[in-house]
């Protein structure tokens, strides 16, 4: 069941500074997915389709409504296009453990024909799904009745040619490939290569290269499993192919390093070509330093020149030509630095936040707690914190930027750090590739916003 509510809010933020935030006014559509926890969100390459995966192994695809001339401001109209069960829970008899059906990642393939293809993965198995429309059906079979029952062959006296007649639109999702049994550890990433023929899948210790047509074997291209598992101190946390160079990919680690590998150099890319790592700030050294340096997401910019990493407290932009330090660093929620012990106790410190680029790479976005999400404008250096919350959104009310106060004195409309709800976390966000439309997933709800054009 989906509860659809569309409202328009206008908020004009006039700032002291000469340059204004580009994303000043937001319209939103609100979908409620009451069935399960959303675990991944991804726009396709045109932005027309938005796929969400959930903890129950289901995928729901939304389609953008064609823009209506009357309401150019409401571009964020997305309606349900298709729903299907991608993965089922499994039981590993050997280890006596359940394999969760939760969808960890969805990646769309570039569209080649009328049908849409996407890869979806849980902890162990990747599947290629074909989503196609059917708006005609054949009628007038010779051997079958309209209801599908077979006719008595002796009753057929004439021959006719079946014809296609228009019918209600049906969207079908069918699994075309199942890529299984190649990962011992939990898959955390999949990434389609720019060659559109291969893709990689990464688990905690290994990365495999697949061909989309071949399901019974894959090539292992990275293996960081130590000979002795007791020596294990670092795991792979995310991996992605370069958007333009089909030989290049990166993978991030729990120690805060990103390694760039060139597949032309060797079959097994254990030797990285480049390593991007920032030395630790000695002023902030603590027992939690390593944990908060663990990278939860890595994303190339659309141009391929830059790369963004998300660790627990910050977002860093790296120039691929410079390995020593990031070119830009943005604090997401620095006020949490003094709360690391509590966050370690309640396991929030292990939350894996994702990040995303805007279509033109000028703005980056990531989630936080209390249903806050942050947008960071690289051009102006400004940032805004917004809240995805149903309670705060009513007709005629204003969607305003939020502020978290750290000091003793709290200003009006500010929320104190201790009042933040750490159960309300936004881990998954996505940005339309061609427009300023964003999808933000709270635990159970999907919010879609678009900015206002002047």
């Amino acid at each position: 069941m989906h509860d659809i509510c569309t409202t328009t809010f206008f908020k004009d933020i006039k700032l002291e500074e000469p340059t204004q935030l580009r994303f000043k006014i937001w319209t939103f559509s609100f979908f409620k997915n009451i069935t399960d926890i959303i675990s991944t969100v991804e726009f396709n390459h045109s932005g027309e389709l938005l796929a969400t995966g959930d903890k129950g192994g289901r995928i729901v695809i939304f389609q953008q409504e064609p823009e209506s001339g009357n309401q150019p401001q409401c571009r964020a109209e997305y309606n349900v296009y298709s729903t299907f069960q991608s993965h089922e829970p499994e039981f590993d008899y050997l280890k006596s453990l359940e394999i969760e059906e939760k969808i960890n990642k969805i990646r769309w393939l570039p569209q080649k024909n009328a049908a849409h293809f996407l890869l979806s993965t849980n902890d162990k198995t990747i599947k290629l799904w074909k989503i196609s429309e059917r708006d005609k059906r054949p009628e007038g079979y010779n051997l079958k009745e309209e209801n599908g029952r077979y006719k008595d062959p002796y009753s057929i006296t004439a021959l006719r040619v079946p014809v296609f007649r228009p019918t209600d639109l049906m969207v079908e999702a069918s699994p075309r490939r199942v890529f299984s049994n190649a990962h011992t550890y939990h898959i955390n990433s999949i990434s389609v290569n720019s060659d559109c023929e291969t893709y990689l899948s990464a688990d905690d210790l290994r990365i495999n290269l697949w061909h989309l047509e071949i399901t019974d074997h894959s090539f292992n291209i990275v293996d960081i499993k130590p000979a002795n598992m007791e020596d294990l101190t670092e795991v792979i946390t995310a991996s992605e192919f370069h958007p333009n160079q089909c030989n290049t990919f990166v993978y991030s680690s729990s120690k805060g390093a990103v390694r760039l590998c060139d597949m032309r150099a060797a079959a097994l890319c254990d030797q990285h070509t480049k390593i991007f790592e920032e030395p630790e700030d000695p002023n902030y050294r603590s027992f939690f330093s390593e944990i908060i340096s663990s990278i939860s997401d890595v994303k190339f910019s659309h141009t391929g020149r830059y790369m963004m990493t998300r660790d627990y407290l910050s977002v860093k932009i790296w120039d691929l030509n410079m390995e020593t330090r990031p070119v830009e660093t943005y604090q997401v929620h620095e006020y949490l630095r003094s709360k690391l012990c509590s966050l370690y106790e309640n396991d929030c410190i292990f939350d894996k936040f994702e990040c995303c680029w805007s279509g033109n790479d000028s703005v980056v976005m990531t989630g936080s707690y209390n249903n806050f999400f942050r947008m960071l404008d690289r051009g102006s250096g400004q940032d805004v914190t917004l809240e995805a919350s149903r309670e705060n959104i009513q007709p005629q009310s204003v969607l305003r930027p939020c502020n978290v106060s750290t000091g003793g004195k709290r200003k009006k409309d500010e929320i104190g750090v201790d009042s933040l709800d750490f159960n309300k976390k936004i881990l998954h966000t996505a940005w339309h590739p061609l427009d300023n439309i964003i999808a933000v997933a709270t635990i159970n709800n999907l919010y879609i916003f678009n900015d206002q054009l002047n």
Binding site: S96, L97, D204, T233, V235, F287, F288, I291, C341, L343
Partner: protein, 271 residues
Amino acid sequence: MFAKGTKRKFSDPGEEPALGAELGPVVRPLSSTYSLQRQSLLDMSLIKLQLCHMLVEPNLCRSVLIANTVRQIQEEMTQDGTWQIMTQALAAAQCPADRLVATEVLCRPSEALAAAQKEEEEEEVVVAAAMEEDVDSEANPLSSSSFLPAPFGAEPGWEDEEDDSEDEDSEECPSDAEDVPDSRRGDQVFGTFEIKHPAPPPDPALEELFSDVDPSYYDLDTVLTGMQSTPKMGPYDLLDSLSPHAAPALSTGTSCRSDLNELDHIMEIIS
């Protein structure tokens, strides 16, 4: 938890400017607050590592990060000399049988672990009394940390000892701090907490209880990798290996003192 959540190295403001953020074998006085915080963090981390009796495989990244934190604390405590004090207190406190019970309660093995451990190298585990320094630790560095939970399951008497050791600690520190860290101590950071198996328990019932328990349960390795050991077969050999491994899994499960609920659940699924 505490008012100040940040685990700074030096909680004594008077010391901070002098020592700055220097790490390594620097002589630094330990304030009791800092020691307490650090000990609490260590306890918390070990408890987190123990919570792996789930039906779903635990998150390897989380386990590795927690294990690294534990290792970091242990290294620092070794340098401070508090590590040895704590281990000695442990040794003095309890008899081996009690510790075995405590450990068994905490490290309750599942059939899965039993099956998985069959493949791993059997690791030699030495009695906790091997905190005596003359024991060579050929052991893997991680095996010791899993024994730290033993105090958690122990009688409240442990808590008193901890306080004692803390008091001792703060008194002794000025003198300890002067000592050059024993190089053997470094080796034994992880080697001091191993328990010898089979340690002959006085109680024949206990003996029967633990007869099927695989000693390698008690390794941190188990926590991290017990679920992961099957990869040694290779991903494509699952079918081949299914038959030889399925049998021991079930037989160990039935003979071991395992969680009956777990067994029921598995039988339900298999049938």
